[in-house]
């Protein structure tokens, strides 16, 4: 079972006790949700208009002010080449968010195709797709990603595709299960009786009912994809230095961890905050949809 499935499983279970909470207090936003929403706004702003939040050049070096601890001039300190870490962290958001969103889109897209094939096209296809998924499940997702990078070479694009590919089996399984349960619903039977074709039923009745929960999955998945992408960059397989990517910055800071903790602390903090934000928001959306 992948991390994602565990998360979704938990989210589904959480529905039980939540019902009581829902009826008891009609609070619209919890503290965590509010904080997550604020952070998400900040991250989105960082990704879209980084110049507004950090006007400096994330690649601009200043050798003479290298290794400066956090101070008024450099809120998060400077790195080994005198680059401002705050500027780099802000400018790095776009890579992480873009990689996270793109990888999730790839994983989800592939998952939908595979899951639909398995759920709709009869036993032989279902059997084949399932065995393929089981083989893919036998490898941890990160290992699949590493294998892909080994073949196609490191870089932001390959890392994104690699993360997307390695999350696809998880999505495919969930979609297939969802499809099968929807397929036997009364309204599908009704549509069949009314003489709709298989594709009409799929597009008009089954998919819309399957895809709604996917929105939740996607939000949760972005957090995971960001962590994975940062992991790959940390290992030197994603963004290449001196790109202001969080994982790559974390890796560069590791060398100086005994003398310049801020070099790895702040990129690390942002990876954690982003992943947590995505998870909190995903859960929150999940809850709302369940009880809408």
């Amino acid at each position: 079972m992948s991390d994602l499935e565990v998360q979704v499983g938990l989210a589904a279970q959480a529905g039980q006790p939540d019902r009581a909470a829902q009826s008891g207090r009609r609070r619209r936003f919890g503290v965590a949700e509010t904080a997550a929403a604020v952070l998400a706004l900040f991250l989105l702003a960082s990704a879209v208009v980084p110049q507004l939040l950090a006007p400096g050049d994330p690649l601009g070096i200043d050798p003479l002010s290298a290794f400066q601890p956090p101070s008024g001039a450099h809120g998060f300190g400077t790195d080994e080449s005198g680059r401002d870490i705050y500027t780099r962290v802000v400018h790095g958001t776009q890579y992480s968010l873009l990689i996270g969103a793109a990888a999730t889109a790839i994983g989800l897209g592939l998952g939908i195709v595979l899951g639909t094939l398995a759920g709709m096209l009869g036993r032989v296809v279902d059997f084949t797709v399932n065995r393929v998924l089981e083989v893919l499940f036998a490898f941890p997702g990160l290992l699949l990603a590493l294998l892909f990078i080994l073949i196609f070479g490191p870089g932001v694009a390959t890392a994104t595709i690699a993360v997307g590919l390695s999350t696809a089996p998880g999505y495919a399984r969930i979609i297939r299960a969802q499809l099968i349960s929807v397929r036997s619903a009364a309204f599908v039977e009704a549509a069949t009786v009314l003489g709709r074709t298989r594709w009409q039923i799929l597009l008009r009745h089954i998919l819309p009912n399957t895809l709604a929960p996917l929105f939740v999955l996607a939000t949760l998945g972005i957090g995971q994809a960001i962590v994975w992408a940062a992991t790959l960059s940390y290992l030197g397989l994603g963004a290449e230095p001196p790109t202001a990517e969080w994982g790559a910055m974390l890796s560069a800071g590791r060398t100086y961890i005994t003398s310049a903790w801020w070099m790895s602390f702040f990129p690390g903090l942002f990876i954690v905050l982003t992943a947590v934000t995505a998870t909190v928001l995903g859960r929150s959306i999940d809850r709302r949809m369940r009880h809408a």
Partner: protein, 552 residues
């Protein structure tokens, strides 16, 4: 402006440098902040050494021949000759040597009182067996094999005199033989299978290999019958330490933490920030010993565009702000080099004026070379082609600080309009990129004792790839005048004449803007203050634990 000294001044300079270096070395081994004498050496104890270099796949440095092998095997293997800090060749297992008048035969007189740790006698036949082993293609020797390129045969004149026959005079023979990669091993042990000999090579050194648990540690124990220290050792008789545990801790932060906690006593490959920290600590000392041979430098591939134009090469060098990069990243632990050779080489020629950071001059040069226009990103273009420099970086060979130096060069060269494309890669991809000529700039360390390294790196014959695909002349210098100087120097045994030939060759290389020197090949060791008497062999700059003892 060529920078030359008359020979006499040069020798004086070398000797003075040597004395100062020796003084620094001695100073480096005394606990800082205390002037009290450390007293008589104490025998006994176990020293733990932690190496940041890769664990060797074979403990016999004849096989292959890289730095990690030299580091550990210098504890149990010894060479025919050594070199002192002034660059003079001194006796070790060979007491004396005489070349013939024509330089084609060399007679080495060997010590008669030495036995290998397996009981085999060290004699002329043993030397012959070692030379044969190094030259045997099945040994797969690379460094040792290259060092014996001109040796066509050996002969045992008597049990203690061995004669080397050469195809042509070789002024680098003694320097080659001084290297740990050409050290003497027991002929009895060499007869075993290569796997066996790799696991437990047998030498004449102060320690012997007791066990090797791969991925963990090599255990060395004292050779109680040891009699053959090199002429510059501090004492005679067996070593002081009972035992040496040789560990491998690749991560630099963990290695330093292990030293701080006292878990290990000596570490190598110390990173600049930890050296600076160690200077403020009373319990840790530093030993700095630049590797011999070439300096660390960026080679510009003159074999293809854009660096086939000397103006573009000079423009690149003038647009790279190396000084600020070195001072910020190495924090005073490395000195900027302006030479093709290491400062450990007395024949090194330095010419700082050629390497001034001068972006304005770079722009003028580029304009003259036809790179006058710039594109939207600020990079220069000519005939629609961008001025790009492919720069593959070996993450195995360039430490993080060095990779950051390259990033800073990338940033400053961009201001002049160069697009430097840094591509960090693992060792095999890096070799592949070089072999397929997919590079415009590259940094490749090369360690060899003596200035003959110039012939390996800059003679046009070294552009021809070896069967492995690797070629050492990565700047692809193809200058008949340089070839002539290097070939002549390699045959010239007169010390002064040889030095002058190498000086001319170096000047031509520097003035051709084929290379951008950075600093010496960094070789910093950190040790606990109670480790006394650690020094490096002035040959290949690896530590020797023979004189070392623990003051605890």
């Amino acid at each position: 402006m060529p920078f030359r000294h008359p020979w006499r001044t040069r020798r004086l300079l070398a000797a003075t440098t040597g004395i100062i270096a020796l003084g620094l070395l001695v100073a480096g081994c005394t606990p800082a902040g205390s002037n009290e004498p450390v007293g008589e050496p104490k025998t006994g104890g176990t020293l733990t050494y932690a190496s940041g270099d890769a664990e060797p796949t074979c403990l016999d440095p004849h096989v292959g021949g890289n730095f990690p092998q030299a580091l550990v095997s210098a504890q149990y293997l010894e060479s025919l000759v050594s070199r002192d800090t002034a660059g003079t060749i001194i006796p070790w297992l060979a007491e004396s040597w005489i070349p013939s008048e024509d330089g084609l035969t060399w007679d080495f007189t060997l010590r008669s009182d030495v036995t290998f740790t397996d009981g085999t006698v060290f004699d002329a036949a043993a030397v012959q067996a070692n030379i044969a082993h190094l030259q045997d293609p099945t040994t797969l020797s690379s460094t040792g094999y290259l060092g014996l390129g001109k040796v066509t045969g050996t002969e045992a004149v008597s049990p203690t005199v061995v004669r080397f026959t050469l195809s042509e005079p070789d002024s680098a023979l003694l320097e080659s033989l001084s290297q740990t990669w050409l050290a003497m091993e027991s002929p009895t042990a060499l007869e075993r299978s290569q796997d066996e000999n790799c696991a437990s090579p047998v030498g004449t050194g102060p320690f012997l290999v007791d066990s090797w648990v791969k991925q963990n540690a090599i255990t060395l124990v004292r050779n109680d019958d040891y009699v053959s220290p090199p002429a510059d050792a501090a004492h005679a008789g067996p070593a002081y330490l009972d035992k040496v545990i040789w560990r491998f801790i690749p991560d630099s932060a963990s290695r330093y933490a292990a030293l701080q906690s006292g878990e290990v006593d000596v570490i190598d490959n110390a990173q600049p920030d930890t050296i600076v920290q160690a200077k403020q600590s009373d319990s840790i000392e530093q030993l700095d010993s630049p590797r011999p041979g070439a300096s660390n430098r960026i080679e510009l591939n003159s074999g293809q565009a854009p660096f086939n134009d000397v103006r573009v090469r000079e423009a690149f060098i003038r647009s790279a702000n190396v000084d600020d990069a070195v001072s910020s990243l190495f924090q005073g632990t490395a000195t900027r080099s302006y030479s093709a050779l290491s400062s450990a080489e007395s024949t090194a020629v330095s010419n700082p004026a050629l390497f001034d950071y001068d972006p304005a001059a770079a722009v003028t040069l580029l304009q003259a070379a036809g790179w006058g226009q710039t594109d939207a990103d600020g990079y220069r273009i000519k005939d629609g082609v961008r001025l790009s420099v492919e720069f593959p970086v070996s993450t195995n060979q360039s430490i993080p600080a060095e990779q950051s130096v390259f990033e800073q060069i990338q940033a400053t060269a961009k201001e002049t309009g160069f697009e430097v494309k840094l591509a960090p890669m693992d060792l095999s991809s890096w070799y592949a990129a070089l072999a397929s000529n997919d590079y415009d700039a590259v940094s490749a360390p090369y360690t060899k004792v003596g200035p003959d390294v110039l012939r390996i790196l800059y003679h046009s014959a070294s552009i021809v790839p070896a069967p492995s695909g690797y070629f050492a002349n990565l700047a692809q210098v193809n200058d008949p005048a340089i070839d002539e100087l290097l070939t002549t120097a390699a045959r010239t045994t007169d010390v002064a004449e040889r030095a002058s030939l190498y000086a001319d060759a170096q000047n031509r290389i520097l003035e051709g803007f084929y290379i951008l020197p950075l600093y010496d090949q960094q070789n910093h060791y950190l040790l606990r203050s109670d480790v006394i008497g650690l020094r490096t062999l002035p040959t290949v700059a690896v530590p020797t634990l023979y004189d070392t003892w623990l003051n605890r």
